[in-house]
Symmetry: C2
Subunit: 230 residues, 2 copies
DNA sequence: TCAAAAGTGTTGACGGTACACCCATGT
DNA sequence: ACATGGGTGTACCGTCAACACTTTTGA
């Protein structure tokens, strides 16, 4: 028998913190209602056990797909939580991931048929079981940090967006007002946004121009040691 | 039987990337010589299996102590590696930590009696088994990044150090020359360093003043949203 | 007195911040 | 015509980068 079998093994799960931003610039989080003990019936982070034949990332993506119908979204490992008593059942380690998606199109609600999944505004969410509050706090801190120096904010918006929408996104995540003229100068000077010819429609005021994030340009800049800031 | 037992479990290890900086400003890494298969005899990152009754952090600290004699050093979770075939034995997930210690005092070599532990300059290290090369690369990237906006560099120096030593540390990690006057201005303006009355001894030139990092001040600044930069 | 590293200021360029008004559109 | 958000420029200030010489000490 191999060396590795001398040790009893903790169980291993993945949990996902899924952030979404809706049309009203409300930052929301996706939760699922647990259908098994412990904490049956409570809202918790989507997640589940890692299978032997799948990588951690694959496991997180599978769980997300199974429980919420989400696929092909921005996805990143967050942190691994392994306190001894974080799960009352057993010793369970959880590798947490976080994801960002845009809620402007209504595609999301439809996908949540099988398991009960729902979006909660960050400020109105129920309190979470296990150490999920800690996981969420860690994820939010990471988002707040990362959005300043990497252009991941775009993941929360539709492909075409206006500068005001982008600015509001930053204001929501960072929790502070930004100056409109300075914000535009800064973001446009980076030359990572492509101005489209289209404009907003059906608004009761001057129509805003749409922009698009140019990921190719960003990659080139990044390789040259470019720095995205605020 | 509980829900958790329906699933076969991967094994769980911790691995440690231990960086040290010696008197000559050489950045080194600690490796241990494996005394069990697979890769018996090869140099690899220190690490081992997580026990059921200890947290991840405790496991990493224990492994480090057992294998290298190191204790009470800067320590932080790095990333969790879980590719399916990263270990030839079995499905093994590894939670990686990284540590920073100063090698100016000779306390280290003495502690490495039982298992064969040794320090290798980053550029002259042997190639590593498993995915340890990837883990090391991730750790080095993290160090390089983090040193710019959090004062963790001090962990690599003795308590008392000269500004030139500090500057060389940054030059080594960042891989670029820095301007002496600008570096001093910047670092002193933050008021995180305490100038001591002592100076270097036994040098064949003008003796440099010693400084000390004031962690208390840093904590206060940090709470107020202070930003350590370069 | 020489070698070797310590220590010290100024200037010009750039980027950040603060700030207020006119424009386009739909109702 | 009015309400609503879209869009724009300038002036001041602080920060960063570039740059070279004098001082101290031990050999």
């Amino acid at each position: 028998m191999s060396y590795t079998y001398e040790f009893p093994r903790p169980a291993l799960t993945v949990d996902c913190v899924v952030f979404g931003l809706d049309r009203d610039n409300l930052l929301k989080i996706m939760l699922i209602q647990r259908c098994l003990p412990p904490f049956e019936g409570q809202w918790a982070l989507p997640g589940g056990f890692v299978r032997l034949e799948e990588s951690l990332e694959a496991a997180a993506q599978r769980e997300l797909r199974e429980e919420t119908g989400l696929e092909n979204v921005f996805f990143e490992q967050l942190y691994t939580f392994g306190d001894v008593n974080r799960d009352p059942r057993d010793r369970i380690i959880s590798v947490a991931y976080y994801a960002l998606i845009n809620l402007w199109e209504y595609r999301i609600e439809a996908a949540t048929d099988a398991s009960a999944a729902a979006w909660f505004p960050l400020l109105k969410k129920p309190s979470l079981p296990f150490d999920h509050e800690q996981i969420l706090a860690t994820a939010f801190a990471r988002l707040k940090n990362k959005v300043r120096y990497e252009p991941i904010g775009f993941e929360l918006l539709p492909k075409k967006f206006t500068l005001t929408q982008l600015q509001k996104l930053y204001e929501t995540i960072l929790g502070q007002k930004l100056d409109k003229r300075n914000f535009r100068k800064k973001i446009l000077k980076m030359e990572l946004l492509v101005a489209l010819d289209e404009t907003e429609t059906a608004v009761a005021h001057r129509a805003a121009r749409f922009y698009q994030f140019d990921e190719q340009k960003y990659r080139k800049f990044k390789d040259k040691g470019f720095n995205f800031e605020l």
